[in-house]
């Protein structure tokens, strides 16, 4: 037997009246702080501070401490020379595939599966992902995240989403795979589609950020700025052209509480484990496949074919075409490869932005497919169009500013 909705609510009231007694609730400091962090004026200042802390800790830990402090040294001074010495026959195919350039002096430039592949995944990306997830978890468990969602609600409505889109968006800064699944918090197919496309295109994952921070630290800010602007522009456009609704939601704001450390530890473990399982093999095999394609001459052929597009439309030098094509499979290393090519800072920004908005990694493709192949196909179409338009746009801005 089922009740009509109104009667059910009446019954809820009746039961609640009989069972719940609310004493006089004294406002606590937690309540006051909770309130201050959602009010626009104070809330935005706090958000600015939180972002600052996030980025500062991220770059101190991942950049200065682990990667520069230990990993670079371990890989360049010990692992690489050892591998170059013991691996037989530097002229052979397998040497090229696994060790890469026999004359390379650091692991970024060797481009072998066991040199660059391993260095990027373990030495650069792993610490970045680890610290990212630690901070993310603390933000989640303390209850700050829903407050950020409330603050961002107005902004996100402009691009066809609502405040809760902040959850997949932030998750995407770690890894796009869980972020795509997290788009399920959005109500309509339109919203989910917009979010997935924007995620795949404009949100660089922890791996990319980690590598960028390592190879081109002085340009990262600009690249991120272009990505944020692109996120806004294309969200706005997609909202206009995609049919569907964007319902208002009421965001539930839980009270602040201290994170439970065993919960934080558990979550950190799980997330890192699934990153190791999903992403690391991909980086390694991506390097391997690109090396095979280089040997087979496919990358070269594609580069010749696409050269006019890249040089004329995007305004990047001829040499970048190869790495940019290879970036379809090896996004993280493409940045490292690009950093070795001589070009103007603006061309560098352009090409790194291009790499970031390129195809997402294979793992992301797979989860997007799980959410629906039609959406995936449409997202890919959006992506191709976006790369083309936005790449040209950045070039145009560069010309106008006189720096391209």
């Amino acid at each position: 037997m089922a009740l009509p909705v109104q009667e059910r609510w009446d019954l809820v009231d009746a039961i609640a009246r009989k069972t719940v007694t609310t004493g006089t609730h004294r406002q606590t400091l937690g309540d006051v702080l909770g309130d201050l962090t959602v009010r626009p004026l104070t809330g935005i200042s706090v958000a600015v501070a939180v972002l600052y802390a996030f980025w500062s800790i991220f770059s101190s830990f991942a950049g200065a401490l682990v990667t520069d402090g230990f990993m670079v040294k371990a890989f360049d001074n010990y692992w690489l020379p050892w591998l170059q010495e013991v691996w037989p026959d530097p002229a052979s195919i397998h040497y090229f595939l696994f060790v890469g350039d026999p004359l390379a002096e650091n692991c970024f430039e060797a481009f072998g599966m066991l040199t660059s592949g391993l260095f990027v995944s373990i030495g650069v990306v792993l610490p970045a992902v680890l610290i990212f997830y630690l901070m993310m978890t603390v933000l989640e468990d303390s209850g700050y995240l829903p407050r950020l969602a409330v603050l961002m609600d107005t902004v996100f409505h402009r691009i066809g989403l609502h405040g809760y889109a902040i959850v997949p968006a932030i998750l995407g800064l770690g890894c796009n795979v869980p972020a795509v699944t997290a788009t399920r918090v959005l109500e309509t197919r339109k919203q989910r589609f917009i979010m997935m496309s924007l995620l795949a295109i404009f949100i660089p994952c922890g791996a990319q950020i980690g590598v960028m921070l390592e190879v081109i630290p002085e340009t990262v800010g600009w690249v991120m700025l272009y990505l944020v602007i692109g996120f806004g522009i294309f969200g706005f456009v997609l909202d206009r052209i995609i049919p569907g609704s964007n319902p208002e939601i009421l965001i539930d704001v839980p009270p602040y509480h201290w994170p439970l450390w065993d919960n934080v530890a558990k979550k950190l473990m799980n997330r890192t484990k699934s990153f190791l399982k999903d992403a690391v093999p991909f980086v390694l095999f991506g390097v391997l496949i690109v090396n095979v394609l280089y040997l087979a001459g496919i990358i070269g052929a594609l580069a010749d074919l696409l050269e006019p597009l890249f040089v004329i439309w995007f305004g990047v030098p001829k040499e970048t075409v190869g790495p940019l094509v290879a970036a379809f499979l090896r996004k993280d290393l493409a940045v490292a490869q690009l950093s070795a090519i001589a070009m103007t800072p603006y061309q560098m920004i352009t090409s790194v932005v291009l790499v970031s908005i390129y195809f997402p990694c294979v793992a992301t493709f797979v989860v997007m497919l799980r959410e629906g192949w039609k959406e995936l196909a449409a997202a890919v179409a959006v992506l191709v169009a976006t790369v083309f338009i936005y790449g040209g746009l950045i070039h145009a801005v560069g010309i106008l500013m006189g720096v391209a």
Binding site: Q27, T28, L29, L33, L36, V46, A49, Y52, S60, A64
Partner: protein, 156 residues
Amino acid sequence: MNQNSTTLSLYIGLLGLVTLAFGLADILVWAGASPGFSVGILEIAGDDFFRWAWGGAVMVFGGLFMLGGVKSAGSLEQFGKAVLGAVMVWIIAGTDIFARLCESIPAGEEASEFFNSVAGFVGGFAPPYSPAILLLPFTLVILYFLVTGRFDETRE
């Protein structure tokens, strides 16, 4: 109680002003692109947009929050603002200290060993300090009031 509250107000107001001034100084040194500013154990390097312009803005917000919480600092709501202002200073100081920690554990690129010597490690924490770190001990007073709950009759 009343007198206690007035003293607290005065203290928070003073701290807020200094924080605000330091925050503005951070931004100004960065914007002026001067070679940096250093007095005694205080140093504003101003070399990096992120640390000095953005971080300086956070300090400015912190100072404004404290000033906003000056009036009747004994009430919970007003004290909340002061706490939030102090949290802003803690964020900047905390990340500064964390950055020093991260830089002084490894031995540095040129050295052959991995870990820094103890002397090198400790040396990483030598003055001069950024304004936020210098302000840190002074904001601890707010922490004291927070923990003891002496700002108000309310718990927590």
